[in-house]
Symmetry: C2
Subunit: 282 residues, 2 copies
Amino acid sequence: MAVAMILSYRYLLICSATLALLLQLCSGLSLDTVREFLTREEDTVVFGLIERAKYPRNTPAYDPGYLAGGHGHNASFAEMFVRESEAVHAKAGRYQSLQEIPFFPFRVPFTLAPPYNFTTELYSAAAFVNVNDAIWSTYFNQLLPLLAKNSDDGNYAATVASDLVCLQALSRRINYGRYVAEVKFIGDQQNYTTLIRNKDTDALMKLLTSEAQEDVVKRRVQKKAMVFGQNVTLDGPVETGNSNSSQTSFKVDPSLVYELYDKWVIPLTKQVEVEYLLHRLD
Amino acid sequence: MAVAMILSYRYLLICSATLALLLQLCSGLSLDTVREFLTREEDTVVFGLIERAKYPRNTPAYDPGYLAGGHGHNASFAEMFVRESEAVHAKAGRYQSLQEIPFFPFRVPFTLAPPYNFTTELYSAAAFVNVNDAIWSTYFNQLLPLLAKNSDDGNYAATVASDLVCLQALSRRINYGRYVAEVKFIGDQQNYTTLIRNKDTDALMKLLTSEAQEDVVKRRVQKKAMVFGQNVTLDGPVETGNSNSSQTSFKVDPSLVYELYDKWVIPLTKQVEVEYLLHRLD
């Protein structure tokens, strides 16, 4: 009886794995498509950082005290701008796609157009997982002081609009860890299932980590910062990012982009992956 | 008497030219700083186009009929999105800076932060000049069909958000013709004054045109599209945009970016310059 139960449980596991694999094939989700998405998002992140670096620091835009006088807000100008912009995006249905997660949850009914029937590639009970709070605080407190020159040109609206583009790119990139985890789970369902049932966070982290792959990503984004952040002239040489001792000046320090991925983007993505997996059998 | 009047008129001209030159020096506006600004904006335009090309055409977002059913709008989804986003930007004071001009004029009082005292480098009676209507129709009717793949992924909000970034970049770039015209006017005040008084549009166009400079700009943006729009890999070769027969595939066709500048950006900029000059003595 016990043997029969174990066998039927195994059979069930194999069936559900096959079904999940078939669903993934239909939705087009595979380790290749997931990596392709993440690689393309690197360009978006690097472009965003270069565009933000066009503006100086513009400190008042991030200081809650700046709006406090007579306005009754506790939020910074940047937060107010992101909140109001996200409300417009929510109204336009941006967050219908699970790839996009707002920094401020909205109950705005989606009013601007009819709903679109997106395919769902995530396990629904785990799809909510995100680290937007960590992204928000990392971006403003750690990254921005290193990215922007310390002065003030008054272009606060254009500046925080470029912050929003960066935040959305980083959020989409990092919270895409849910898709990465889904693909990895399907590819090795038996091992992941055991670790998830045991809530073995450390072993999950170890199983989904590929240091060689992470190294490729970090060195590639650094190269992208060199190629995309150079001053292209018609007749001058073009920086290829391949030599070690570059004399070119870049719009964003390539080593900062390396560090961003090393310290924040990759660890936060893996945090998303682990949290998603912990809810993958809910 | 007549001679004395002519002499004092000439003296007045010289004095006002000197004064204007001094004002320009104080504000930092010169042919060099203006060209530097325009060159940097090329990167912003190219990044914007590459980011828009990430999404497919998404035709319903531009079709007024898409929203018409029961919503009572005559505008497209894209127009509604731009209107609502610009209202947030207006509220945040974006259009306090004369460098930024909305596509839809707003009477929204600027409420999010205290006003910022921008230096005014333009002649106030001519500062209103802009060609946003032409940019709007060129972007949606001419450029977009050539830029985006003809399919539909439902990401309308993210798509039109990237349209807004492109529109703002093109508007800032093209309407910067006002600053170009101001610098050219100050540099050759006597010739321009005569032509402006005669409303000689053709001669003004001829005086402010430098075909050699335009050629440099067009070839440089094409090169930027090659450098910024390539797929950067860690070990693969880097496209430098210098060879004539490139085998690389680009995210946006570099010849389309050349054409964009050749057919629209440069001619529209010169149209702004001429219109600004026609109001320069108002």
